[in-house]
């Protein structure tokens, strides 16, 4: 079977949250298509619905209406076990708060998904070491998350997300808890993985440095897609504060 062109499609996804007596419409009919191998950034202010969209795509939460298709499979049709299988094999997750298991070493953390995939202990460890080398942390395989810096923890998280050879990586504010230099390294790593390994990357983010490496940028505001831009059409200026000429 040929691989589908679109790895993710969402159709009119809606989600509401009830807060006390009020209802908040987090997503108000979002339809996006992501091609295999793309690097997509979902951008928007806090409360725009980008995390909700992210959760819907990643199968972390069910939308109230609309559909999400991963590899042309409707997520709503999957039962809990099939969903777990999908998360295990097809999707890799990266979070703002890293979410490493604190009682396990880096190696054990990266190896964990391979256990759920049925890999033997030796195979799993080999793969975990290899992935840690890819992210540049082979020498720290024995350290627990508390012994690693934020950037290093995120690298371990990235290695973990690749454990079962996923087609799709979902990154929720991956640089949110990192300083700008470390953040830039992480973005660079993700870009490398996207270009060299062909893994589709979808990232929900505030970080403007992410814009530079994306193929397309989806801007979300108030639960709807405001616009979708190609990187080529953007002109990005990053810098400090700009004072108008003549002022001091």
């Amino acid at each position: 079977m040929a691989a589908t062109e679109y790895i993710v499609r969402t159709k009119e996804v809606r989600k509401e949250f009830k807060m006390g007596t009020e209802t908040m419409k987090a997503l108000n009919g979002v339809s996006v298509d992501v091609k295999r191998g793309e690097y997509i950034s979902i951008m928007g202010p806090s409360g725009s619905g980008k995390s909700t969209l992210f959760n819907a795509i990643g199968g972390l939460d069910k939308p109230d209406s609309g559909s999400v298709f991963i590899n042309d499979v409707d997520m709503a049709q999957l039962d809990a076990n099939e969903l777990a299988f999908l998360r295990c094999h097809t999707i890799g997750y990266i979070f703002q708060t890293f979410n490493l298991i604190t009682v396990m070493t880096a190696l054990e953390n990266v190896r964990l998904p391979t256990i759920f995939a049925g890999m033997s202990a030796e195979e799993g460890e080999l793969r975990a070491m290899k992935l840690l080398d890819v992210v540049g942390l082979g020498h720290r395989y024995n350290h627990k998350p508390s012994e690693l810096s934020g950037g290093q923890q995120q690298r371990v998280a990235i290695a973990r997300s690749l454990a079962n050879n996923p087609s799709l990586i979902l990154a929720d504010e991956p640089t949110g808890n990192l300083d700008s230099k470390t953040g830039a390294e992480i973005i660079d790593l993700l870009r490398r993985l996207n270009k060299e390994e062909g893994v589709t990357v979808i990232s929900a983010t505030h970080d403007y440095k992410m814009l530079d490496v994306s193929d397309r940028i989806i801007w979300i505001r108030d639960g709807v897609v405001e616009k979708i831009e190609l990187r080529a059409d953007l002109s990005i200026q990053l810098g400090g504060m700009q004072t108008p000429a003549g002022a001091h």
Binding site: K62, N71, N81, F85, R87, V103, S167, E197, G198
Partner: protein, 204 residues
């Protein structure tokens, strides 16, 4: 297709239906590892079980072995034993609920890595079973020792019947494991059924 260094070779389309592997041995390893790392935390919960079962075992040993107890005294002792079990149950439930709650994020993460719901339930049950078993046995020993010492001192000529002591052992361990399981049941189910997003949204 881009040629990489093999870290994630050209991902083709993957099937949706398949099995998640969760050999029980692995669940046990992760559970015991977790208990070992959270040793002191587990000790607090365990000592709750330990002390309550110790008291329970003490009372039961008395009931079984003490000669010439009045009916009144028997009733009082039985009542005490039952109360101690209830108190133990409440304390252990609280500890278990706290333990599950502080691990919500960990559970949510595991689900993202592909852990099925059954894994989460099994994990907590193995922990509960192990803790219940070890603590109850230790508690039984303490209660028994206390009762025997006091009986030997206060009522010489007491018959140390092994079958009866064995009955106390069986009762103590059963009660201990039963309440520990019962205490873990509801929180574990709750954790297992939570959608991964809510588990991760927890601000703990």
């Amino acid at each position: 297709m881009p040629e990489g260094n093999g870290a994630a070779s050209a991902p083709a389309e993957k099937p949706v239906h398949g099995k998640i592997f969760m050999p029980f041995r692995v669940v046990v390893t992760i559970a015991l590892n977790g208990l070992k790392i959270r040793f002191w935390r587990s000790m607090v919960t365990a000592s709750g079980i330990f002390l309550s079962i110790a008291f329970f075992s003490y009372v039961l040993t008395n009931l079984m072995l003490a000669p010439n107890m009045t009916m009144d005294e028997r009733h009082r002792q039985t009542f005490l034993a039952m109360i101690s079990v209830v108190v133990a149950g409440v304390g252990i439930t609280n500890s278990m609920l706290m333990s599950v709650t502080e691990r919500f994020r960990e559970i949510g993460t595991m689900k993202c890595l592909g852990a099925p719901d059954s894994f989460v339930v099994k994990l907590f049950f193995v922990e509960a079973a192990f803790m219940g078993l070890v603590s109850s046995t230790a508690g039984f020993a303490l209660g028994l020792a206390a009762a025997l010492v006091l009986l030997a001192v206060g009522a010489p000529g007491v018959e140390f019947s092994l079958p009866r002591i064995f009955t106390v052992l069986v009762w103590s361990v059963s009660v201990g494991v039963f309440i520990t399981f019962g205490a873990a049941y509801f929180p574990a189910q709750q954790a297992a059924k939570m959608p991964a997003a809510s588990a991760l949204r927890t601000d703990i």
